[in-house]
């Protein structure tokens, strides 16, 4: 067994806990998880069955933690995990799983399959079987500060652009501000409108805010590939920045897994609770709305629907805020079938959109989203995750669907009452 493989097995042994043991012993091979997974439903290939994606983890569990399994291993009756096998599993663990979590809410015996995929990725990454694209992203985040190689000068360039466009100041490293705003590289690069929306909204709400020059990046691809050590480095930067600037709340941007990383995994990665709150931008906007701080005018005339990003809604618990905000600026808001926590993934989360090998299956899986949209026939699609936006646009383009996609924060900002 090679060194990296044996390290991988050690990691897998370490991450197996009572819940995982309980899950493996509960699975009755009913196959319902497959019917919840868009990669299976749109391709019809049983290999995409979610519980099958974690088979290597199950074998490690059986051979290391069950008496019968250990006896079997000792007698030479069971096959140990091989490097080749982990290599074969890359496709199932990274190309055709976005960690969307539908399987987890469907399993009748209660298996949290996405939890197991997340843990398996830890072993896969150590064994060298994570996709190159995401490994590169994680390295860049640790070395440069952003997975996409966005350095402070680029952020400053965007700030300059926004300040010129809006006539407002974008504070940087302002100590004592109430809110510290994180951005995702995606927004800095692709959607600069997000930052100008924030500037306008904060101005109207009368709240103090700041960016942090050492921790402007929210994206945490360590979480995606499953390298907790690197994920920890990334979170620590944010914690250090927030505590140094003495902010009350850190705002996670319109990015799916960034919220999961900082809000739900963050304290566990650094081993202590945070000294500040973490909220998603939608939660903050909804609080402003409820407190009467958001003054909007006018309504969107078009028929709108909302795509709930998996990491924010089902996996993040932010489900009502976006609906309240949509209703503030639209009288023609319709829900897709399977809305909110039941929503179907865009198909590109969890590192899949950065993975060239996954492009083909991702576009096939998109048929599920296409079916949802064909049913509700909106004029415009609103969402709150930069990655979802691009994945949706690419999917719509591929299937020749003429449907604009917009971000919710920008849409709210467009309706702000101008003084």
């Amino acid at each position: 067994m090679s060194a990296s493989l044996s390290r991988a097995v050690d990691i897998l042994k370490e991450v197996i806990d009572a819940p995982i043991a309980s899950y493996f012993n509960s699975c009755v091979h009913c196959g319902l998880c497959a019917e919840a997974c868009l990669f299976y439903t749109e391709s019809g290939d049983p290999k995409y069955t979610p519980i099958h994606k974690v088979e290597p983890l199950r074998r490690v569990y059986e051979q290391e933690y069950t008496l019968l399994g250990r006896i079997g291993k000792w007698l030479g009756l069971s096959k140990p995990i091989s490097d080749e096998e982990l290599g074969n599993w890359r496709e199932l663990v990274y190309d055709s799983c976005t960690m969307c979590g539908r399987c987890t809410i469907v399993c009748p015996v209660g298996n949290d399959i996405v939890y197991m995929v997340r843990k398996l990725r830890e072993g896969m990454a150590i064994a060298g079987h994570a996709p190159d694209g995401v490994v590169g992203a994680t390295k860049r985040t640790v070395e440069i500060g952003s997975p996409m190689g966005v350095k402070l000068p680029a952020v400053k360039a965007q700030i300059g652009h926004i300040e010129a466009e809006t006539g407002l100041t974008v504070p940087l490293d302002q100590e004592g501000a109430e809110y510290m705003v994180l951005l995702s590289s995606m927004e800095i690069i692709n959607f600069p409108e997000y930052l100008s929306a924030i500037a306008k909204i904060m101005k109207q709400a009368g709240k103090t805010w700041t960016l942090c020059s050492t921790a402007f990046e929210a994206t945490n691809s360590g979480i995606q590939i499953g390298v907790s050590d690197l994920a920890k480095v990334i979170v620590s930067r944010i914690v250090e920045g927030a505590e140094r600037l003495k902010v009350k709340t850190v705002i996670s941007p319109e990015c799916g897994h960034a919220f999961t990383a900082i809000r739900w995994e963050g304290p566990n990665l650094i081993g202590r609770p945070f000294g500040f709150k973490v909220k998603h931008i939608l939660e903050v906007l909804d609080e402003f709305r409820a407190a009467g701080l958001l003054k909007t005018e006018g309504f969107e005339e078009e028929r709108l629907t909302f795509h709930d990003p998996c990491q924010i809604a089902r996996r993040g618990g932010v489900i009502e805020p976006q609906r309240n905000l949509m209703r503030m600026v639209s009288k023609n808001f319709v829900e897709m079938s399977d809305p909110g926590k039941y929503n179907w993934c865009c198909g590109g989360g969890g590192g899949v959109s950065a993975n060239d090998d996954a492009e083909e299956i991702r576009l096939i899986a998109f048929k599920r989203k296409k079916a949802q949209l064909d049913e509700v026939k909106p004029d415009k699609l609103v969402t709150a995750c930069a990655n979802c936006r691009i994945v949706l646009e690419e999917g719509l383009e591929h299937y020749q669907m003429d449907l604009p996609v917009v971000g919710l924060t920008e849409m709210i900002a467009e309706h702000l009452v101008e003084k």
Binding site: A18, A21, S26, G31, L32, G44, T104, W264
Partner: protein
């Protein structure tokens, strides 16, 4: 050994061995699984009514929107045989009497014609489940030897019990012995196969609901 001797054996030593293996096996397996423990979660949890492990224990029995249409046979046949088993095992007068002899508890039985009917429903449902496991691509793909074994080991007690109660095929004493023997086989295998989900489904659902509940999502 003639039929009467066999019956005495399965009712006596056989039953004792089976129950001992079942109880000791179950305790061992529960320790083996749950002693692995769980790290505490340091993230600040949300408190949303209805979102907790306890709620999920019950709520997970209800399919989420759309799933029933996608997997109708799985849900219908699955519920049918589970309910059927519960009725046949726990609400049949001779079984209740046995339990009373063993641990002193008793409760009212259902009329035997009704239990008879439920036994047939259970057998039919289990056959549907078997055929579906063979024909449905995902089930077929996932199935191992253990799936067929556990199906047989669950099917046989219901079949032999039904046949004994109706005096079918074999002389009653022999049929009854076979029925009790098949139950003993089930008891012995239960802790060491996927049948153990009888116990683990509850903590699994609880963990699942607890993790999602911390985030404020009721699943």
């Amino acid at each position: 050994m003639d039929a009467a001797e066999l019956l005495n054996w399965v009712r006596g030593p056989g039953l004792q061995i089976a129950i001992a293996v079942f109880l000791l096996g179950t305790i061992w397996r529960l320790i083996e699984i749950y002693s692995l423990g769980r790290k505490p979660d340091l993230a600040e949890r949300r408190h949303v009514p209805g979102a907790s492990g306890w709620h999920t224990l019950v709520r997970r029995s209800i399919p989420i929107p759309g799933m029933f249409q996608r997997s109708t046979i799985t849900y219908v046949a699955g519920y049918a045989f589970h309910l059927g088993l519960a009725v046949v095992v726990l609400l049949f007068a001779p079984h209740i009497k046995l339990i009373q002899d063993l641990i002193g508890l008793t409760w009212p039985a259902l009329p035997s014609q009704f239990v008879d009917l439920m036994a047939v429903v259970t057998l039919v449902a289990m056959l549907v489940v078997l055929i579906d496991r063979i024909r449905q691509p995902v089930k077929r793909f996932l199935s191992t030897f253990e799936d067929w074994l556990t199906w047989a080991v669950t099917f046989l007690p219901v079949l032999t019990g039904y046949m004994a109660a109706r005096h079918l095929l074999l002389p009653y004493t022999l049929m009854l012995s076979l029925h009790i023997l098949s139950v003993e086989l089930l008891l012995v295998l239960l802790p060491f196969t996927k049948l153990f989900h009888v116990f683990t489904v509850w903590p699994s659902r609880w963990f699942n609901g607890d993790i999602q509940g911390k985030k404020g999502v009721a699943v």
